[in-house]
């Protein structure tokens, strides 16, 4: 894993590369890894120095050691009636429920937009309307409409995930090679078979990219979603800690959220490599 994650996330359809190993990347990898490690190390060092010399009050900036201790304590004994793992499980549960729901809805919509003018006219305005609205803006409305239960939290995350998957899927469907479609038709494919044997596999890399971006978007919506009467979850844990000025738990929670996002991204990239090894190669 390296820091080119964001870059790749912004480019759903990677430029065509010739078969064979890429040349430039391996040579740069150690350099990138070393500089990245240096950046992280100097940030932690600056943090440690600032807290050690009390440049900032410990109430506002607890030391790295204190944050580490908070991690151990919360993992073992819990915070606001649940251990770190229970908070994490609650958050992951919501995000994955939202992901499944959003994928089931967004992929067919993306197919409709990508493959027909009627579909595009029907769904494009809705998606373009939803896409730029920040979750905190529609949060109150979701509560008014759907109450403060678990479905509302999942819905808030799910809405944030919808647009990336729809847009990626539509791009993928539109990008299916015309010659491949014609080849299949001249080998006797029906419309259904075209969809099943050419369009679906052909747009799968783009769909997976969309899911990867959506997971990032959903995960960053988590704290907003857990503002709504939650009793568990990483976002809820951070907010509770903030109300009691338990800054070490706040910082620890932020670091855990970042680490989990990084891990999810890595897992999805692994899935992509397994599922669509041809992407970008032909």
């Amino acid at each position: 894993m390296s820091l080119d994650l964001a870059e790749a996330a912004l480019a759903p359809s990677r430029p065509a590369e010739r078969a064979g190993p890429t040349k430039a990347a391996p040579r740069n990898r150690p350099v990138v890894a070393i500089t990245a490690a240096l950046t992280i190390a100097s940030l932690v060092l600056a943090w440690a120095i600032a807290s050690h010399f009390q440049l900032v009050s410990a109430l506002f900036l607890p030391s790295p050691v204190a944050v580490g201790k908070a991690f151990v304590t919360v993992a073992r004994d819990g915070f606001v009636d649940a251990t770190l793992w229970q908070h994490l499980a609650a958050s992951l549960g919501r995000v994955f429920a939202a992901l499944v729901g959003a994928t089931l809805i967004a992929v067919p919509i993306g197919f409709a937009i990508g493959s027909s003018a009627v579909g595009r006219g029907t769904f494009d305005p809705i998606i373009e309307f939803l896409r730029p609205i920040p979750p905190l803006a529609y949060l109150p409305l979701v509560i008014i409409w759907f109450g403060i239960g678990e479905p509302s939290k999942i819905l808030i995350i799910g809405i944030a995930m919808l647009a990336p998957i729809v847009i990626s899927t539509a791009t993928g469907v539109k990008g299916v090679d015309a010659d491949r479609l014609n080849a299949a038709r001249s080998l006797g494919a029906t419309r259904r078979q075209l969809l099943r044997h050419v369009i679906l596999p052909g747009s799968l890399p783009a769909i997976l990219t969309g899911i990867r971006i959506a997971l990032g978007a959903g995960w960053s919506t988590l704290v907003a979603a857990e503002l709504v009467a939650a009793s568990r979850g990483l976002g809820f844990m951070i907010q509770s800690a903030a109300q009691f000025l338990v800054t070490d738990v706040v910082l620890m929670g932020i670091l855990v959220i970042a680490a989990v996002a990084f891990a999810l991204e890595a897992v999805l990239r692994w899935i992509e490599r397994r599922l669509v090894p041809w992407a970008g190669k032909s």
Binding site: A19, D177, N182, S186, G188, H197, W278, K281
Partner: protein
């Protein structure tokens, strides 16, 4: 006998100048028809009409007297940029028509191996497509078309993207494959030597609107199949004369 017929077809894209004007062409089983012409003379449009990817603005495309309404498994197409399916193995690409027809995997595999052998790729069935070279991919594309056991084989500059040496090897492969099946073949190219070497009949097209200006029966391919070497054919006076003759008819039209 299988008979593919373009009967006074013309083609005009909406609001544009005519691409093809009142053009007629017959292809029968046992024939290897090669169309040459400069770029923009409508060669590819001609093939797209024959394949059923496009419908003529007037005139008819017929197979055995029945009008063509769209692409179909009786007219397999080989594309310039292979158009293979990278999510399938080489063997599954070759057996794609069988897959569409719902044939069981074991039988598909046997069929794929048979056709991979014909195009000289025996043993590569399990390779992912992206690990094949350009020439190998083009062979897979040919094997995929042959495996559909079409009545006609339509090829749109299938060797256009290959380097010169691979192209010569592929020309022999095309000849052998045609000789084996005797499927009526339509091949588009801009290589005059390639046309002469492969064809039983060469068609010369000229642009604005795309039309046929020359039809020429040749037998160099059959001489090759009878065992004569490619170099001796291409160096023979009759081949050189035919080449100059064809070049003249292609470029005369440009001056006119």
């Amino acid at each position: 006998m299988a008979h593919l017929q373009l009967d006074s077809v013309s083609l005009r894209y909406e609001g544009g100048a005519p691409v093809l004007g009142n053009l007629s062409l017959d292809i029968r089983a046992d024939e290897f028809v090669v169309v040459v012409g400069r770029s923009g003379c409508g060669k590819t449009s001609l093939l797209n009409l024959a394949a059923g990817f496009l419908a003529p603005s007037s005139g008819q495309v017929l197979v055995d007297g029945r009008p063509v309404t769209g692409p179909g498994a009786d007219r397999a197409v080989v594309f310039q940029n292979d158009a293979l399916f990278p999510w399938l193995s080489t063997a599954e690409n070759v057996a794609f028509a069988a897959r569409l027809a719902g044939i069981a995997p074991a039988e598909r595999r046997a069929q794929a191996d048979r056709y991979l052998d014909i195009v000289g790729l025996a043993g590569l069935g399990d390779r992912p497509i992206w690990q094949l070279s350009g020439g190998q991919r083009q062979r897979v594309g040919l094997a995929r078309a042959l495996a559909a056991e079409p009545r006609f084989l339509l090829m749109d500059e299938p060797l256009g993207a290959l380097d010169a040496m691979t192209r010569e090897a592929m020309q022999d492969l095309l000849l052998e494959a045609w000789n084996r099946t005797r499927t009526g073949t339509l091949l588009i190219t801009h290589g005059v030597e390639e046309a002469l070497y492969l064809a039983t009949r060469v068609i010369v097209m000229a642009p604005q609107p795309g039309r046929i200006v020359r039809r020429l029966e040749v037998d160099f391919g059959r001489r090759r199949l009878a065992g004569e070497s490619a170099r001796s054919i291409k160096a023979s006076p009759s081949f050189v004369a035919a080449r100059e003759d064809l070049l003249d008819s292609i470029f005369e039209r440009e001056a006119a």
